[in-house]
Symmetry: C2
Subunit: 237 residues, 2 copies
DNA sequence: GTACAAAACGAACGATCGTGCTAAGACAAG
DNA sequence: CTTGTCTTAGCACGATCGTTCGTTTTGTAC
């Protein structure tokens, strides 16, 4: 057992160290998104933060622990940028659409330098067993499940045809955003997002119940205005 | 100008060296698909082939040249494994479907250890300017265009509704295979391919002309047998 | 003030990176 | 056989990798 004062002291220390740790992770997450989790280097990171290699290293103890911390940090950013805004919407079709829209927007505003952090790290680690891979796979699974869960809510709420295979739907919606991330980052072409959104709306419209189809139509029309107005003319060359 | 004999001699040398070069690239392409093009290391590769680092290095002159050669080699393999089989089919919907099927099959039989080589390297290099990135982007563009071209043929042949936006269609088909590659390699779950194929057939059916819809239905039924028979039971848990 | 613990540092470890430089071996031309 | 060219090897370079170790700095408790 520790005295109160000792605990107090430790908390202060931790708070002080935690500040540095967060600064490190903030920088690390952006380096990793551009260079990959394996390309992320302790020396390079220390230089960027004007710290000593050993001082930085002491916060994590091993490179793998650093990578795990970076993935967790990326998760926090993803939650803040995508999940939280979307979850302000009511459950069901509205939230599902918001999740996809926020996700596309987060790719589009390049929250991470190298596109969606999790798509990049998933492909980097998918054939590299270990804790890092497991963590990435788990987070990816959760997000995919969250999409499917929302589709099920939409069914329960009568917004989506109950005959629709929600796992299939989640797979396809996910694939469309994946495709947009790929297209946008490789070709630097913002049309990727229109394409993805068109696909998403088609998938959702396909299983929408007649009553809610109008609702969806309104929503989508309102949202599409922002993006597609300028590019629509370009497309009809 | 060179004498005939000199040219003859050089060709022999080249042929001898080219054999070694091909052996190197064969190994390199598989290492790169698992570890990434940047993770591919000259020393590691030399060990694997029981060559000296410098002897191997002399074939390329720089790491970037090696990477470029590896990407070209991967292209050759992709052509042999996917493009050639698909292009035996007649132009139009048949070939388009064959391209996607062969592509999925090539991902499924893990021609490269780390999933589809080009998806992995595209994401690795998309935020890393240089010749390698340009080469990958060019090849990706060609393949995407090839999909769209075939869709246009399908329209010209009356197999596909001429109102369908072929660029949009190609984007979505590509995204579905992309999604399957991601899902399969991350979760090691072969259902990825059923999902992708279901999505692909939905996309094609959507714009199919009434006459050819029956044809498509037959084709898809014949092909689906092979894959989904065993997994269909698993799914209905 | 002294005592103590956490945080950060500096220097070095062995390993490996990409890349040169030089020489040995293989083989064809004269 | 000599000569020249191409292939492969040997060796070393400076840099950087992840990691360890002992020390110094910093800030709080007494």
């Amino acid at each position: 057992m520790k005295a109160v004062s000792e605990i107090r002291k430790e908390q202060d220390r931790e708070a002080r160290g935690a500040k540095t740790r967060q600064d490190i992770l903030q920088a690390a997450v952006h380096v990793a998104s551009a260079e990959g989790l394996e390309g992320l280097t302790i020396g390079r990171l220390a230089d960027e933060l004007r710290m000593s290699k050993s001082g930085l290293f002491a916060h994590f103890g091993s490179k793998e622990e650093l990578q795990l911390a970076v993935v967790s940090k990326a998760r926090d950013i993803f939650v803040r940028e995508v999940v939280d805004p979307a979850f302000k919407r009511d459950r069901g079709l509205g939230r599902l659409l918001a999740m996809l829209d926020e996700w596309l927007a987060y790719v589009g505003r390049s929250v991470f330098r190298g596109g969606c952090f999790f798509m990049a790290s998933a492909i980097e680690f998918d054939s590299r067993p270990g804790k890092v891979r497991d963590l990435i796979a788990g987070l990816s699974r959760s997000w995919l499940d969250a999409l499917e869960t929302e589709a099920r809510y939409a069914q329960a709420l009568g917004q989506l045809d109950p005959h629709v295979d929600t796992a299939q739907l989640a797979f396809e919606l996910h694939a469309l955003v994946h495709g947009a991330n790929w297209y946008y980052n490789l070709f630097e072409d913002k049309r990727a997002f229109e394409r993805a959104r068109t696909g998403i709306l088609d998938r959702l419209r396909h299983g929408a119940t007649p009553g809610l189809l109008r609702l969806l139509g309104e929503k989508s029309a309102a949202r599409m205005k922002t993006i597609s107005k300028k590019t629509k003319r370009k497309e009809s060359r």
